[in-house]
């Protein structure tokens, strides 16, 4: 696997930064080269928030991402701000519960994941939406192994919350698998795949 650049975005409080760390940790467990960076400061507290992960089989020198192979957007504001940074042929994953409108962008595969809905409805905790999203991401992209991701989640979440987070991961994973199959089968509007 050559260099893959993932950008996770959303609003403050959604656990976007933690998602990036978990993804990076998983990649590390997979013995891949990985670098994680994120937005900082007061700007990171309120509005748009972002975490970036570069994963590669080779040593990573330049640590930042310029164009994303994969953009995850968990808020409308974040999507609007970052959609332009997706590479041609890249993938966009949105939280279909928090994002309603997808701006025009060609040659991008769009996946919709109802992570917030799943988190609040199936798991009773909206706070784990980010982990649901990670499960989906893992399933949709295969950039990290499931074993590694589970290990990373366990290591990274607050003590006592391991179980619910693992369940969230699994829910996201299954949800995306299903939708993937469905999506592959179903018809695609304007190059998008349905995520719900």
């Amino acid at each position: 696997m050559s260099r893959i650049e993932v950008k996770l975005t959303g609003f403050g409080g959604q656990g976007i930064v933690l998602s990036g760390i978990i993804l990076a940790r998983a990649a590390m467990h997979d013995e891949k080269g990985v670098v994680q960076t994120q937005s900082y400061g007061p700007e990171a507290r309120g509005g748009a928030c972002r975490s970036e992960v570069v994963i590669s089989d080779e040593t990573i020198h330049y640590p930042l991402i310029e164009e994303a192979d994969i953009l995850v957007a968990m808020s409308q504001e974040a999507l609007d701000k970052h959609i332009s940074s997706i590479k041609k042929g890249g993938m966009l994953i949105i939280d279909s519960d928090t994002v309603s409108r997808i701006p025009e962008k060609s040659e991008v595969e769009v996946n919709r994941v109802a992570s917030t809905g799943i988190a609040s409805e199936k798991l009773g905790k909206v706070i784990v939406a980010n982990i649901v999203m990670l499960g989906a991401l893992m399933s949709l992209t295969g950039i990290v192994s499931k074993v590694a991701m589970e290990k990373a989640v366990k290591e990274s979440v607050p003590r006592g919350t391991e179980e619910i987070n693992l369940r969230a991961l699994e829910e996201g994973y299954l949800h995306a698998q299903k939708s993937r199959i469905k999506g592959l089968k179903g018809k695609t509007e304007s190059k998008e795949k349905e995520g719900k």
């Binding site: 609003f11 808020s75 409308q76 504001e77 928090t98």
Partner: protein, 71 residues
């Protein structure tokens, strides 16, 4: 003319106006705003005494009271 405006674009759903309105005029909207939160909404305008406590306390400058107290 009495009116309360909530600017959904600015409101962060902190609940301060809702909590401290002495007449319980305000409540949380059930609709998530673009900020991803549930903003304040006017539920019971009639009860409002135009005391402006909501306006004075609002940290987002997102609520505005129209009309003056009679006395």
């Amino acid at each position: 003319m009495k009116k309360i405006y909530v600017d959904e674009d600015l409101c962060t759903g902190c609940g301060i106006c809702i909590e401290f309105c002495p007449k319980k005029v305000l409540s949380y909207s059930s609709q998530r705003s673009l900020r991803g939160i549930y903003p304040a909404q006017v539920e019971n305008l009639e009860a409002c005494t135009l005391c402006r406590i909501c306006e004075v306390y609002c940290p987002a400058f997102s609520i505005a009271v129209e009309g003056e107290k009679d006395e």
